[in-house]
């Protein structure tokens, strides 16, 4: 970790002492062919934001789906919230998944439901009273700046708006872990910055552990070099040379983890693939 890191939104001491939120040990996966992921080991600690880098098609999204139990590893162990989910029956996975939030690459909003019902999906299943649902949905939509979309259907939203609604849906349950699958993929620079700002806000205000998949270096650097200023209610750059200590990096190359470290380690890596990716 870089010496110039600043201390931002540290999680409570009790959480720090607890085990990692996510821990993978020697995880491999294939789909009856060449391995998609091979011997992956890393962890996500409480309050930590990990940025998973790599070009398209190296298995980043598959890795996220493994972590939340949507896919099963062929080899290795995978702990989510301290429980080994690699062999856990599907029925026992649902309560664990409900504790996490996931933002899918293409938003994956339910197209037959309104924005309100999409965001409130978990609350509706839990039979939370309608009045409370409306209040919490408005709060979540306000967090992503989309209060006016409350009654709209996903078809009438732009790509960036859909992504922000997906973030609101992932956050409404106050998750203990958030998984972002290329949240800025295919979006224009302005909308991408808005989404990264939301992620920084969540990281710095709530200290929720997160794993963010992206192939866009600028997003990764923005996450590392900015903090959320609650007074100005916007993302501001950290002083020159300072980085967020809770934001670290992982990089995949053809299903193998080739880097696990800080921004400094990423920038000074000797690995040829990392160098090429950075350039």
């Amino acid at each position: 970790m870089s010496d110039t890191s600043i201390s931002a939104a540290q999680p409570p001491a009790g959480e720090q002492e607890a085990g990692p939120v996510v821990a993978l040990r020697g995880v491999s996966l294939d789909f009856d062919g060449p391995p998609v992921l091979e011997d992956i080991s890393f962890s996500v600690a409480s309050g930590e934001t990990r940025v998973l880098l790599g070009p398209a098609g190296v298995g980043k999204s598959v890795l996220l789906k493994l972590i939340i139990g949507l896919l099963r590893p062929r080899k290795g162990t995978l702990h989510l919230f301290g429980e080994d989910i690699s062999t856990l029956p599907e029925e026992r996975l649902f309560p664990l998944r409900a504790r996490a939030g996931m933002v899918f690459q293409e938003s994956a909003l339910f197209d037959s439901l309104t924005v309100r019902d999409n965001v409130a999906y978990q609350l509706i299943q839990e039979r939370v009273p309608d009045g409370e649902i409306d209040t919490r949905v408005r709060e979540a939509l306000s967090f992503v700046g989309l209060e006016e979309t409350f009654s709209l259907y996903p078809a009438s939203l732009s790509g960036g708006m859909k992504r922000r609604v997906a973030i609101a849906r992932a956050l409404i349950h106050d998750p203990e872990l958030i998984l972002y699958d290329s949240p800025t993929g295919g979006l224009d620079p302005v909308t991408s910055t808005t989404i990264i700002e939301l992620i920084v806000k969540r990281r710095d205000v709530h200290a929720t552990p997160a794993l963010l998949v992206t192939h866009r270096l600028q997003d990764a650097f923005t996450l590392c070099n900015h903090r959320f200023d609650s007074e100005q209610n916007c993302m501001v750059p950290l002083p020159a040379g300072e980085t967020n200590p809770n934001t670290t990096f992982l990089m995949l190359e053809e299903g193998r983890l080739i880097l696990d470290g800080s921004l400094d380690e990423l920038l000074h890596s000797d690995n040829k693939f990392v160098r090429e990716f950075l350039e």
Partner: protein
């Protein structure tokens, strides 16, 4: 090469049957373990039952009419046109009502289930549902299967009734026979075993069309083209299986209730 291809195809078929059996069994078990989504059950009942009513009424009515037309021509050669009602009634209630309704509802709803669930799979909505801690088997599959069973039973009764009415209309308006005689003949020769036969079949057919529609939908791969393939497979498989299973059930029921 041919042996390898046959071997691979055979394995795929066995695996598909195994997957389907596990899928269908899980859907049944889900009905007896909470949470059961009763609201979804009612919504699906409306879509499947009320939505299929017009096609079931029309197909039942015209099938009864055709049966009356065809049978009247043959029966008149033997001077037995008086038993047209018995012929139409028994054929509709024991055989054509359940099978025809099953195939019509399969065409409309197995395809709808496969395409709807298939679209949800390819747009990651099913994964999103699982990620939100909701079991798609309980939320989407079980309500569709059991709504199909319940609604097919009721729709079969409707098809039987309109089939007999269609036969009556043809008998009175085209064959110029006595309507009361037709209805008496249809009613008097009806036994409980005939009704049991006619109402047992839709339970199996409903289960088949619901589970096959959902099974193909949930197994969809390959984007929008895959959704199309799943839809076709669901309709073809459920329709063929309804006819095949009808043969088996009829054989068993005829053993239990000999004519």
């Amino acid at each position: 090469m041919a042996t390898i291809a046959i071997d691979r195809t055979a394995k795929q078929i066995v695996l598909a049957v195994q997957d389907y059996s596990l899928f269908a069994w899980r859907a049944v078990l889900n009905l007896f373990r909470p949470p059961v989504y009763w609201t979804d059950f009612l919504m699906q009942s409306d879509i499947i039952g009320v939505g299929s009513l017009p096609i079931v009424i029309l197909s039942g009515f015209f099938t009864g009419g055709v049966l009356a037309l065809q049978s009247a021509a043959t029966l008149s050669e033997f001077g037995a046109t008086a038993v047209t009602g018995q012929f139409v009634g028994l054929t509709m209630i024991r055989e054509l009502g359940p099978v025809l309704t099953g195939i019509m509802v399969a065409g409309r709803n197995a395809s709808s289930m496969a395409s709807e669930l298939g679209s949800m799979v390819v747009t990651e909505q099913i994964d999103a549902m699982r990620a939100l801690g909701v079991d798609p088997m309980r939320k989407l599959v079980t309500p569709r299967i059991f709504s199909s069973i319940a609604m097919l039973l009721l729709l079969t009764i409707v098809a039987d009734a309109f089939g007999i009415l269609g036969g009556a209309a043809v008998t009175v308006l085209i064959s110029h026979q006595n309507g009361t005689q037709y209805l008496n003949s249809a009613y008097e020769h009806l036994r409980y075993s005939d009704i049991i036969q006619g109402l047992t079949k839709p339970l199996f057919f409903g289960y088949l069309l619901g589970s096959i529609g959902c099974f193909y939908g949930m197994r969809t791969t390959g984007g929008t083209e895959g959704v199309g393939r799943s839809t076709i497979s669901a309709v073809v498989t459920s329709s063929v299986l309804i006819i095949a299973v009808d043969f088996v059930i009829t054989h068993i029921l005829l053993t239990i209730f000999p004519t």
